[in-house]
Symmetry: C2
DNA sequence: AATAACCGATACAACCTGTATCGCCAAGTT
DNA sequence: AACTTGGCGATACAGGTTGTATCGGTTATT
């Protein structure tokens, strides 16, 4: 049932997660939809909750792990669900305060693997924040604001540049 | 009249730019609103068009100019209109294809000053893209996804790090 | 067998959307 | 001065959406 809702989200975008639209697309009664998910945000939260979160093994080499995470995130953004989630989260947060918190949590979860990957490198916390932001943010902006395939190569260059210069410093 | 619409956007968010809502808030007849701006995207485009775009003089020193641009962008994001525009653009682009193009143009315009600032530095085009993305994207993500005051200090550190390492390389 | 929990169907008032139509008033024309 | 044009406000309309409430039927639970 939620899988049908996910289909709908991917095809028609985050604005389609309304009771009526879900009813028409999934065949589930409108009453039932209201019972379980009072707001579109609830639907989205359920979808996010169901979405698979692949756990990735760390090699121990921060640079190598960071590159791997870049690839993984690019793939996830390209393969839609994550990108669609983000767009929908921004859209809903415009009207529903509850979506704001959900959005922050989701972004944190997206970024978390990078923090883990950099855990091996012996860096001050602030540096970790900076590096993660510089590497991940452009990917998110590409997917969210520019609608172009995420600049995978750029992200890899950023990893090299940041981690290289930090190790040198 | 558009000023009233801008007020509305800032207070109630991008979802409030609907004909009905505009009618109630501005007193302008619903007919008239439909006549001029058929879609919320049109309203937003008009607001963006009216918004002041301060032109900034370049000192010639890329690093100094970049820092100045970081400050300027942080201020604009903090003072709301720009941030509200971005949120609204993402929201509308979810349903209206016309908003996608508008959004891309707007982001390009936001980024343009940084490109100008870096024009003085003798850098290959790809490097310019990388630097700009690394500096600007975190600011946009902060404002758009995390809802926290843009990390001004981080952006300044990024300028130093990127421009410093590039000059050294 | 009785009860509770869940689902679907229907109904309802309130609202929003898009479009069309009408009368009004001001600006400019001849 | 009479006329025309253009833009605005007001109203009406059908169609769709939203939340909520209510009722009957089905399935598990005990």
């Amino acid at each position: 049932m939620l899988t049908a809702a996910l289909e709908l989200l991917l095809v028609e975008g985050g604005a389609a997660l309304t009771p009526q639209r879900l009813h028409q697309a999934t065949g589930v009664s409108r009453s039932t939809i209201y019972r379980h998910w009072a707001t579109p945000t609830d639907v989205l939260a359920a979808l996010i909750d169901v979405a698979p979160t692949a756990r990735r093994a760390l090699s121990g080499d921060p640079v190598k792990d960071a590159h791997a995470e870049v690839d993984a995130l690019c793939n996830r953004l390209r393969d839609k669900p994550v990108g669609a989630f983000l767009q929908a989260l921004v859209t809903m947060a415009a009207t529903d305060p509850a979506a704001v918190e959900l959005r922050q949590r989701y972004v944190d979860d997206l970024v978390a693997p990078f923090r883990r990957a950099l855990g091996g490198a012996d860096l001050p916390r602030q540096r970790v924040d900076d590096v993660v932001a510089a590497i991940v943010s452009p990917l998110l902006v590409d997917a969210l604001l520019l609608d172009r395939p995420t600049a995978r190569a750029r992200a890899h260059r950023a990893v090299d540049l940041y981690l290289g210069s930090l190790q040198a410093g």
